[in-house]
Structure formats: structure tokens, C-alpha cells
Amino acid sequence: MNIPYTSEVRPDTGVYNAKLGIWLFLASEVMLFGGLFSAYIFLRTGAATWPHGWEILNIPLATTNTVVLISSSVTMVMAWASLAGGNFARFRRFLGTTVALGVAFLAIKGMEYGMKFEHGLFPATNTFLAIYFTLTGLHGLHVIGGMIVNVYLLGPGSKMWRKDPQRFTNRVEVAGLYWHFVDLVWIFLFPVLYLL
């Protein structure tokens, strides 16, 4: 049986199924991180004292990570553009770079965590660190999830390119939307946790 509008766009709504699906998912993610952000504000406004992020956290590392993640977003969208332009080899290069940048991001994050642990700073130490580890940890899980999808699209998933190029391009676009969202979350996490 064929489900309609898996690769072509439904004229009256202007989207194909998966695109609507991923946007809905992102909407729910907005509410997930929204819940955590509002928890952060709730605790911070209620706290007697609250440290500045820069006093505890490592700004240069985090800035590097911001640049890494933004770059990976660019390569992700370029990967999609390459597919849309019909250039599969270029797509592979760009998506490969995206995955590599994701690994770099996680490695730097891991270093940051390691440094904190060495100094005896754990989630249980205080509320600031608790929220820091929870938010960045959850964000890290999202990065890992995105990387699994990207690796799949780079490897076994890419067989679809020959059978149904349109659908495969859609898949990459959808994966990209998710990846950009993860980037977007970081764009807010970075100032909120590190700079304020």
C-alpha cells in the first residue's frame, strides 16, 4: 500500500508528510526546552545568590563549540543543497563534515565536563551546576541522536538515493531541520548558561 504525499507535496497544504511531522516534533521540542528554561528562570529568580556563568564555566571552549556547531549547521544545509542540485558526491562530503563537526562538539563538551569533575564540581554541588549539567546533557543527547540519523543517511540510508531521489532529498532536509534546531537550542543555551 502507498501512503500519499510521502515524497510529493500536497498542493493545498504545501508540505510533504515528513516535513510536517518534523516541524511538529520540533514544536514539542520547543516546549521541552521551554520547560527547562522556565525552570531555570524560576530557580534563578527564587535564589538568594546565583553565580555568573563565566565565573565557573570555560568561555573560550564554549565559544569554540558555538562556532563548531554553527559550522556544522552550514555544512548540513549545504549537504541538502548538493542533493537538491543532484550532486551526490558533494552531499557525502558535506554530510561527512557535519558528522565530524558533531564529534568535535561532543569531544569538546566531554573535555569541559572532565575539567569540571576534576575540580570536584558535580551536578549535586549547587543548583547552577545542576541546571548546567542537565541542560547541556540533554542537548548533548540531542546531538548524539542527530548524529545517529546523519550516519545512517550517510551509510545504509543513502541507498534510497538511487531508488527514490526525491524522497531521499526530503529525508536529508528533515534531518537537517532537526540538526538546525539543535544548533538553535545551543545558540540560546550558550549565552544563558555561560554569559549571564
Binding site: M1, N2, I3, P4, Y5, R10, T13, V15, Y16, N17, A18, L20, G21, L24, F25, A27, S28, E29, V30, M31, L32, F33, G34, G35, L36, A39, F42, L43, G46, A47, F122, P123, A124, T125, N126, T127, A130, I131, F133, T134, L138
Partner: protein, 581 residues
């Protein structure tokens, strides 16, 4: 159109093998039935927990007969229930009924089975995802059930799981949180699938204003699940961190528990959890009721043989209800120390949200007027839904006004309020749905006599259970009391009602036996019926019973609104949506 391809595939589905056909099916109808059976069993289980609790409330401190010996020494030594165990049963009754019973039945089962058929779609938009959401739900259920076997038993901090109590509770609470992650994931996958299906897979001609109201109800419900669950997920993450990583998101500084100063960094707030929890849980209550209203609307239109009165106000009220449900949550928290600013805001929004409910109920009641009412079994349950929801909804009003909520908060009045909505409300509507769509799923009809016994018995018993709760609540009896209030002077005058309610609850169980027999026997032995036994207009009746893989043999096209019954000048008293006439 693409549907034409479904014809070839429709005939080839027998070759799928047992596993793919029954267990790991991706067909929305099979998944719907899997959801139905699982959630009905959970309902029965949740009810059983409550019947055990009702023994303790009726006869505090006396050994439980029959099953008392099997509950375990840690829970009920010599068959006498311990307070810890009572609290576990209460928390798990609430959790199971809501998250594993009513929502999966209303959304997972009926939504899955009926909605794609009603919009003329061959299946859900993402069949694999659909299968996954069932199995994730199943895993959540297993986690919750399994938690009874953990040391210290299941979660025992109420279905609301308020910290600090839940933060320091036994390991069952961790299982509860993990179970909730499964259930939340399942709901998210499901709701994305539902929305995409409704938006994208409507058959040609099926405009939004021609959708059966049931589909509207599912659409709004899905949005509620999609956007309200994540904040609870966030809260569950934080509570899990508190329990496993030693953080103190919900623990303030300076706690002294049983004489010991708690070793935690402190600086958290117990109220934060309540806000995040109720941000989900108020929309969640509309998740419990909207599918029920959808079912009732369909059945009323079909059995009054006339269109719903003012379909448009029904739809707009539902949308408005869904929208408003996100900004009333703190009416559960009036007595936590709320000031006047917030108090005013939430009282006003709560009163505003009651208006669309009044409109919905008015539409459904007024729809009876001018009809030619057939009292079939589904119709009887649907009709009973109206005043029962009315009682439940009306008793929400004094709770919604902060001054009158003070004496009523956390008393049996609240228990009565919401049970009137979810038990003789939602559950009756779901029963109605089972009787109504059973012929579609099996090609056979359930027995009417047994159905009527089930109906009258349940109606009487259920009112006898929940009506006395208002009396107890007004007298000030608290909920969640292990002995039902036996040691409180102010409870003495209404204490004897506990026995009445318990007997009614056990009798209610007896009246479910005809239903269970009817259900299973009718699958094989029920009277065979045609494709459209109720002379209905919506698309699910335009295909065979049960529908084939791919749903429709020929592509369907829609020409008119959902409930065109008794159209003047028409040959029959119903005009199906796909009838070009």
C-alpha cells in the same frame, strides 16, 4: 490518485505472516485493536486496585478476604493492608487509569482505528512510527506494572508525585519516572502521526469543515499531547536528576526528614514541580474528555437521525478549549501560597474555559431536539454521558473559584468532581464507542440484552459510588486517607457512606461481567451484520467490515458534511459522505 495502488496491495496482505499481521503489524486497524485490548485490560487492572483499596476504606484494618493472602508480607501482613501499600495502590490507580487506560483507549485505540477510516485515508501517515508508539506504550505499561515487584513497591506519592515526598521515595518512583518517559514518547510519536494524517491524508473533497467531529476531537487532543507533555518530560528529567544524581531542583535548603538533616545542596523549589506537572495535567484532562465527546457526538448524530445542532460552534468551542487549557493550570495550586495577582489570573481563565464546555454540552443536548431517537446500546451510553459530564463539569466551578476551593481542595469533593467526568463520563463514552464500532472491527454485533444489563447496572452503581463523595467532601473529609477519615471528628457523620461506596464499587465490577462476556463471545459468535449496520453517513461505513488492508477498495471522494441524516427530499434517511447523489 495514489489510492488506486492500494487496490493491488489490498489483496496481497494475507502473505504477511503471523508476526507481521498480528503482533508487529503496521496496519492502523490492527494497532488500534492492540491498543484497545491492552488498555481495556489496564482499565480492569486499575479498577481492581481500587476495589482492594475500597475494602480498606469500608473496613479499615480488617484482613482483606480472598486475595489478602496473596498481596505479600511487605504489603499486607496477614491480609491487613499497610498504609504504604494503600498509597501505592492510590498512586498507581490514578496513573494506570489515566495514562494506561483512558488515554490509550480514547486516542490510541479509537483514534487509530476510526480516524483514518473517517477521513478516507489508506492508513496513518507513518505506519512504522505507529507500530513503535504502541510498543513504547506497552513498554511503559510493563515498567509501571513491574514496579510493584521492586523493593518498597510501586510509586507511592500520588499520581501527582509531588516532591519532596517523591524525591526521597522508594525506588518505585524511579520506575514511575522511567515509565512516564516511555508513555510520553509514545504519546508524542502518536500525536505527530495523528496530526500529519489528518492534515495530509484527507480524501479528496474532505475539507476541514466536513470532518466528522470525532476527527476534530482527535486533532485537538493530539495538539494537547504534543505541546503539553514535553514540560512534564522536562520535570521528570529534573526529578530523575534529583533522585539519581543528587541534585536538588525540588529540594529547598534545610530539610529535616525524620530527625536527620538532608544532605543536599538545597536551593530548589517544590512548587516548581507542581507548575510543570499541572502545565501538562490540566491539558491532559481535556485529553481524557475530548475523544469521549467525539464519540458521543458521532453516536448522537447517528441515532437521532439528524445532523448535530450547530456543528460549527462545536468545532470552534473545541479549538478554543484546547487553546485555553494551557493557561489555567495553577487552579490546582490555589492554596500553595498564591498571591492575588496570580489568583485573579487563574480564576478568570478557569471561568473562561468553562464556557466552551458549556457550549459543547449544550450543542450535544440540543441535538436531541427534533430527532427520531433510536435507543441502541451505544446511544444509551452516549445519552448517559451528557448529565454525568454535566455533574462533573458543574462541580468544577466551585473548585475553580479560589475562596470556595479552600474548604474543598484535596477533599473527596475533588475526587467526586473528576470521577464524574472520567468514569461515568469518559468510560461510558468509550463503552459506547466499543458497542458502536465493534461491527466495523469484526463484522459482528454485540448482544443488545447483555449491553442493556451492562448499561443500567453500571449507571446505577457508578452514581452510588461517586455521589456520596460530594457529601463527604463538603463535610471536609480529605482524600488519600488510609482509613477513610475514621479518626477525624468532622468525618464521623459521613463515615458510614464509605461502606455504601465500596459495595457499589464491587457491584459495579459484577456488572462488567456481561460486558466482558459479550465482548469476547461476540468476536466469534456475534450476529453477522453488513458493512453499514447503523445506517451511518461517515466514511468508515463506506468500506467492508472489517476493512481490508489499505481500507478502501475503490478511491473515495467526499461530497458533503459528516452527518447528513434525514435530508429533506432524499431517498433514504441518510446520505453517506461519499454518495455523489
Amino acid at each position: 490518485m495514489t489510492q488506486s495502488t492500494s487496490v493491488e496491495h489490498g489483496s496481497g496482505h494475507e502473505s504477511q505472516g503471523f508476526w507481521r499481521t498480528y503482533l508487529f503489524s503496521q496496519d492502523h486497524k490492527t494497532i488500534g485493536i492492540q491498543y484497545a485490548i491492552t488498555s481495556l485490560l489496564f482499565l480492569l487492572f486499575g479498577f481492581t486496585l481500587m476495589m482492594i483499596m475500597r475494602w480498606q476504606l469500608a473496613y479499615p484494618g480488617q484482613p482483606i478476604p480472598l486475595i489478602g493472602k496473596f498481596l505479600g508480607e511487605a504489603n499486607a501482613p496477614d491480609g491487613i493492608m499497610l498504609p504504604e501499600f494503600y498509597n501505592q495502590l492510590g498512586a498507581m490507580h490514578g496513573t494506570i487509569m489515566i495514562f494506561l487506560g483512558v488515554v490509550p483507549l480514547g486516542v490510541g485505540a479509537f483514534g487509530n482505528f476510526v480516524m483514518p477510516l473517517q477521513i478516507g485515508a489508506p492508513d496513518m501517515a507513518f505506519p512504522k512510527l505507529n507500530m513503535m508508539s504502541y510498543w513504547v506504550y506497552f513498554a511503559g505499561g510493563v515498567t509501571m506494572l513491574g514496579s510493584f515487584l521492586l523493593p518498597g513497591g510501586a510509586a507511592n506519592s500520588g499520581w501527582t508525585s509531588y516532591p519532596p515526598l517523591s524525591d526521597i521515595a522508594t525506588i518505585g518512583q524511579t520506575a514511575w519516572l522511567i515509565g512516564m518517559f516511555f508513555l510520553i514518547t509514545s504519546s508524542l510519536l502518536g500525536s505527530i502521526n495523528f496530526i500529519v494524517t489528518i492534515v495530509q491524508l484527507r480524501a479528496p473533497g474532505m475539507t476541514f469543515m466536513r470532518l466528522p467531529f470525532f476527527v476534530w476531537a482527535q486533532l485537538v487532543t493530539s495538539f494537547l499531547l504534543l505541546l503539553a507533555f514535553p514540560p512534564l518530560e522536562a520535570a521528570a528529567c529534573l526529578q530523575l536528576m534529583d533522585r539519581l544524581a543528587g541534585t536538588s531542583f525540588f529540594l529547598p535548603s534545610g530539610l529535616v526528614v525524620s530527625g536527620q538533616v538532608v544532605q543536599a545542596s538545597g536551593g530548589g523549589s517544590p512548587l516548581l514541580w507542581q507548575h510543570l506537572f499541572w502545565f501538562l495535567a490540566h491539558p491532559e484532562v481535556y485529553v481524557l474528555i475530548l475523544p469521549a465527546m467525539g464519540i458521543v457526538a458521532e453516536i448522537i448524530a447517528n441515532n437521532t437521525r439528524k445532523p448535530l445542532w450547530s456543528y460549527r460552534s462545536l468545532v470552534y468551542s473545541t479549538l478554543f478549549l484546547g487553546f485555553m487549557s494551557f493557561i489555567v493550570w495553577a487552579h490546582h495550586m490555589y492554596i500553595t501560597g498564591m498571591g492575588t495577582t496570580l489568583g485573579t489570573f487563574f480564576q478568570v481563565t478557569t471561568m473562561i474555559i468553562s464556557i466552551p464546555s458549556v457550549v459543547i454540552l449544550a450543542v450535544l443536548i440540543v441535538s436531541l431536539w427534533g430527532g427520531s431517537i433510536r435507543f441502541t446500546t451505544p446511544m444509551m451510553f452516549a445519552c448517559a454521558f451528557l448529565p454525568m459530564f454535566g455533574i462533573g463539569g458543574l462541580t468544577g466551578l466551585p473548585l475553580g473559584l479560589a475562596p470556595t476551593d479552600i474548604p474543598l481542595h484535596d477533599t473527596y469533593y475533588v475526587i467526586g468532581h473528576f470521577h464524574y467526568i472520567v468514569a461515568p463520563g469518559s468510560i461510558f463514552a468509550l463503552f459506547a464507542g466499543v458497542y458502536y464500532w465493534f461491527p466495523k472491527a469484526t463484522g459482528r454485533r454485540m448482544n443488545d440484552t447483555l449491553g442493556k444489563i451492562h448499561f443500567w447496572g453500571s449507571l446505577i452503581c457508578i452514581n452510588t459510588i461517586f455521589m456520596p463523595m460530594f457529601i463527604q467532601g463538603l463535610a471536609g473529609v480529605s482524600r488519600r486517607l488510609y482509613d477513610g477519615g475514621a479518626q477525624y471528628a468532622h468525618a464521623q457523620g459521613v463515615l458510614s457512606l464509605n461502606l455504601v461506596m465500596s459495595v457499589a464499587a464491587w457491584s459495579l465490577a459484577i456488572f462488567q461481567i456481561p460486558f466482558i462476556i459479550n465482548f469476547f463471545v461476540s468476536i466469534r459468535k456475534g450476529k453477522k451484520v453488513g458493512d453499514n449496520p447503523w445506517d451511518a453517513t461517515t466514511l468508515e461505513w463506506a468500506t467492508s467490515s472489517p476493512p481490508p488492508h489499505g481500507n478502501f477498495i475503490r478511491p473515495v471522494e467526499v461530497y458533503r458534511g459528516p452527518h447528513e441524516y434525514s435530508v429533506p427530499g432524499a431517498a433514504r434517511d441518510f446520505l453517506p459522505q461519499n454518495d455523489p447523489a
